[in-house]
């Protein structure tokens, strides 16, 4: 693409504050110019998870410096922007409100159009920034501390369907809770990963949630990690009651295998059932080595093209929100105005609020 052509693409600033990461990203069309993230995870660690009030305060403190750094990195000024985009949901209400408030203030003071966008669709939108051709439809598996969703994306700005999601615990949350059971610190994902490295994933056969024939009728693409968590709890309790040592490495490896297996089995089944030979992974769980390896193995066997954007675009970030905003601008969508608010349970069908 020539530089001249690129100059016509919208320059969009994206703000993301749905959880514990304060993210500000700047894109021009599908070109990433800046992706700056401030995390408050360390502040939450002593509580064993994100605390909304702490997150909101941390966002408030981090937002201005993050914004300044992003503008410097992208080498643009606020006046250069064509539009501002912000995550309006789903997420933590108090945390979302900080980003929404900041985005409204920017849009009003700069007299720029404002786009309120869906956090989950933003994760899918990150894929346009990888510099490769993005083909639709695609199935997307988004897994993080707060989300476990399987989406069918026919068109990023027009047509995103929720195929299934967790009916109880998010996958990341199951990692946190099992870590708690095993006496490992928060966040549980990396801790379980570390403990699992020396364990036998076939040592204990833990249940795969919603995979029985009776469940597959109603919950074909839904996930459940509550039964798995209970199974691990009871297995560990039984060992402790008998005065035996708990084989932490084997429990961690077997648990991780159960989670990875059910996630990838259902995602690949969706691709096959719907005749969509493309799968996109997103969310913090792509950091999990076993989930990535299993996805690569099974997609290769099934002839499915697997896409995993760089980790910095998979975890929560502002660049993905800017990218989705730029797609909406390019599609000629009217801005959201100022009438929207933070919506903690915004459905995925609402791509733009």
């Amino acid at each position: 693409m020539t530089r001249e052509h690129r100059a016509h693409e919208p320059l969009v600033l994206g703000i993301e504050t749905s959880c514990d990461e304060t993210g500000v990203g700047i894109v021009r069309g599908t070109t990433l110019l800046a992706n700056v993230i401030a995390s408050s995870m360390d502040e939450h660690a002593r509580y064993g998870g994100v605390v909304p009030e702490i997150a909101a305060r941390a966002h408030l403190e981090a937002l201005t410096p993050t914004l300044t750094t992003a503008l410097e990195q992208a080498d643009v000024t606020l006046a250069d922007l064509d539009a501002v985009a912000v995550t309006s949901g789903p997420g933590l209400s108090g945390a979302l409100m900080v980003g929404v408030g900041a985005a409204k203030a920017l849009a009003v003071s700069l007299d720029k159009p404002l786009y309120a966008v869906n956090h989950l669709v933003g994760h899918v939108g990150a894929d346009v920034l990888t510099g490769e051709d993005v083909e639709h439809p695609t199935v997307a598996l988004l897994v993080s501390g707060g989300h476990t969703s399987l989406l069918l994306v026919r068109d990023l700005v027009n047509d995103v369907e929720m195929l299934g999601e967790t009916i109880d615990d998010a996958a990341g949350e199951a990692f946190d809770k099992v870590a708690r059971l095993l006496g490992l610190p928060y966040p549980g994902g990396p801790e379980i990963d570390r403990a699992a490295a020396s364990g036998d994933p076939t040592a204990i056969r833990f249940p795969r949630g919603l995979s029985l024939p009776k469940d597959m009728e109603k919950h074909r693409y839904d996930f459940s990690f509550s039964g798995l968590k209970t199974a691990v709890a009871r297995w560990v309790e039984q060992r402790r009651d008998a005065g035996e040592e708990v084989p932490v490495a084997d429990v961690a490896a077997s648990f991780r295998e159960a989670v990875a297996d059910v996630l990838i089995t259902k995602a690949v089944a969706a691709c096959r059932d719907l005749g969509v030979p493309r799968l996109l992974l997103g969310g913090g769980v792509v950091a999990n080595a076993r989930v990535r390896a299993l996805a690569e193995e099974r997609c290769a066997a099934a002839g499915i093209a697997l896409r995993i954007p760089p980790f910095s675009l998979c975890t929560d970030n502002g660049a993905m929100i800017a990218a989705l905003g730029a797609q909406l601008v390019a599609a000629g969508r009217p801005p959201s105005g100022l009438g929207f608010g933070a919506d903690s349970t915004l459905p995925v069908t609402s791509i733009q609020a």
């Binding site: 009916i167 615990d169 998010a170 949350e173 968590k229 309790e237 903690s344 349970t345 459905p347």
Partner: protein
């Protein structure tokens, strides 16, 4: 105090639905029980019957989630207090108790500083042993009212 035996997750959801039919704005339910007892399953049944926007899933990660009504009823606020160390932190969540139905998981010791009346529900599961793949072992449910509001509650 009333004790019930709930044989399956489906029936746990139905108990939630039965209680939902008797709720109004301002009501608070405290749910107790160890990991995997069935607290979220109960709340899912309650939320579906209240007619709020779902899905009702575990609030552990977000601490509190507001499900707006799809009709003209009150919203459901679903709270997980496990990670809160003091009732003041529950108060910090700025929940609109008066206008909502509030379900608080891991509520033990958290509520009396914040509200006057609530319905205590404790769910017990078998400890140790192996949960079958179907997870259909019965749960023992204890229901205990706190305050006048709850004396008329119907459980069957």
């Amino acid at each position: 105090m009333t004790e019930l035996t709930i044989p399956t997750p489906e029936e746990m959801g139905e108990l939630g639905a039965l209680i939902a039919g008797q709720l109004r704005a301002g009501d608070v339910i405290a749910l107790n029980g160890e990991l995997g007892a069935g607290k979220t399953t109960f709340t899912r049944g309650l939320g579906e019957a209240l007619g709020v926007r779902g899905p009702v899933t575990s609030p552990t990660f977000v601490l509190a989630r507001t499900h707006p009504s799809l009709g003209d009823g009150p919203p459901l606020v679903h709270v997980d207090a496990y990670r809160l160390s003091h009732p003041a932190e529950l108060d910090d969540l700025d929940i609109d108790f008066a206008a909502s139905v509030v379900v608080v998981e891991w509520a033990a010791g958290m509520l009396d500083a914040v509200v006057d009346e609530w319905l205590d529900i404790t769910i017990r599961r078998p400890v140790g042993g192996v949960e079958s793949e179907e997870g259909v072992e019965p749960r023992l449910v204890t229901v205990e009212p706190h305050g006048e509001r709850w004396h008329e509650i119907r459980l069957v």
